[in-house]
């Protein structure tokens, strides 16, 4: 499977990474090469095989439903590029 410049642009949009034409040109063959490499997986017979999402047989633990931690507003905002009165600040979203 070969990715066109248009395919790469679509994926870049999904991944929210800005790319100019030169970058799209550069990535198309590189990504095609990697996708071509992983496509050898199609040779493997995986009928009746369950997908493996976690290697460790651990049952997810439940904890009691109560507040045990929190109150870190200052710490959470400490690395924000922009914040105001306890909020993250972003460019205007609605007109």
């Amino acid at each position: 499977m070969s990715l066109t410049k248009k395919d790469v642009a679509k994926v870049a949009n999904l991944a929210r990474i800005k790319m100019d034409d030169a970058k799209l040109e550069e990535l198309a063959p590189q990504l095609s090469n990697i996708i071509g490499f992983v496509e050898q997986l199609s040779e493997v017979d995986t009928d009746n095989v369950e997908p493996l999402a976690s290697v460790v047989d651990i049952n997810l633990r439940l904890r009691e439903d109560k507040v045990t931690d929190g109150g870190y507003q200052k710490e959470i905002l400490a690395n924000a590029p922009d914040s105001l009165e306890g909020y993250f600040v972003v460019p205007k979203v609605v007109e």
Binding site: I17, I34, V38, V49, D82, V90, P91
Partner: protein, 495 residues
Amino acid sequence: MTNLTSMTMAEALKGLENKEFTSVELTQKHIDAMAQAKHLNAFITETPELALKQASESDKRRAAGNAGALDGIPIAMKDLFCTKGIRTTAASKILENFIPQYESTVSQNLLNAGTVTLGKANLDQFAMGSSNTTSHFGNVISPWKNQNSNNLDLVPGGSSGGSAAAVAARISMAATGTDTGGSIRQPAAFCGLAGIKPTYGRCSRWGIIAFSSSLDQAGAFGRTVEDAALLLKSMAGFDPKDSTSADLPVPDFAAAITGDIKGKKIGIPKEYRIDGMPDEIEKFWQQGIEMVKDAGAEIVDVSLPHTKYAVPTYYVIAPAEASSNLARYDGVKYGLRVDGEDLNSTYENTRAEGFGDEVIRRIMIGTYALSSGYYDAYYIKAQKVRRLISNDFENVFKECDALLTPTAPSAAFAIGENEDDPVKMYLNDVFTIPASLAGLPGMSVPAGLNSDGLPLGLQIIGRPWDEEMVLRVGHSIEKAANFTAQPQLTGKIAA
């Protein structure tokens, strides 16, 4: 006084206990070595003042009889572990100025054991790479030199390249690493160190900057198997803050090193004899087989039929998880922001400028593999093959106690080599990725030099939760190989 930067961590602990030297003295020697070996670029952030403060507190604890398991030992912390108040970058531009407000569980465990932090070790950006050439903060240079062309700088391996270079160069007594597809074992092999990745779930991932959550696991570098075992013991343990952390007691790993592997069955997987493997790697592997045989182990030929699909499986699953994990870098909550005209273009500008080429490549592959119409063909397919790979291991461990393979298909290569084709670089991890996909403990042990005078490592893979067997076999190879070679570029101090 003995040379404080060349002794092992185990020896240093005895020396501290017997009051032959203090942690401040030990730490100062390593800080001097760090300054001497700056050109290796092993650290992104050096913390000498913090180290001396921690060392002096350690000396007080020891004097008061309250010393922890690793009290006063100077180590390097891979810059992927969040450290409270100390910049943590993941070797990226997007986190160039990120100061964590909390401590990762593993680094907290080590602080509780009394370790001294020399600094944050360089790595491949977001731990994506096998050569430490994708760091935003520059390449790490291996302290080893090729005897036949010693003008070239070599890679230390990756992604934990700074950790490995620091320990090999005698800047640091030991170091933490993380291993997603070989990022501890391959640099350990390239730098002549013992490096262990424990079973997935043995160390908490809480506070480790995430790359591929179903594969990432913390582990340890030491100049000896014993040192790696000691460090790992203090890193590991159950943590309710990581839902995949195992609620199991942590064995005394160092005590597992009994030197006795008599009667143990060591499997040799025939599929690891890959096409194009250099003769010297094949010969070196054979020597390793002889070593465990001489130690009384029984050799069993085994088959892991899906081995050749491990690398392609990994290069679907790891990028897919990475694309999801790295979605958090949006220029809003932390990290770099590059403003655009609206919120969407702010995201796009920030991520384009904040991520390096290899990280972008992997996010793109992962996003593609997870996108509508391709999810089943790539991601689910890879998860199914992953199960087959895991089943292969389960089957062979019915016949043997551990597996023995080379760690990497070559010794360290020159900086800039293997850069022309991403897939070529990915194949460096052909022997380490299968155990990662199966979540198994694996370790690399230095067992010889190649014809260029560069270290080669043997990998031992064990059953889930049986790091003790891995360490025991590793130690037996270490003893037989008697690896004493040292790199040419160390942080040696005159006088």
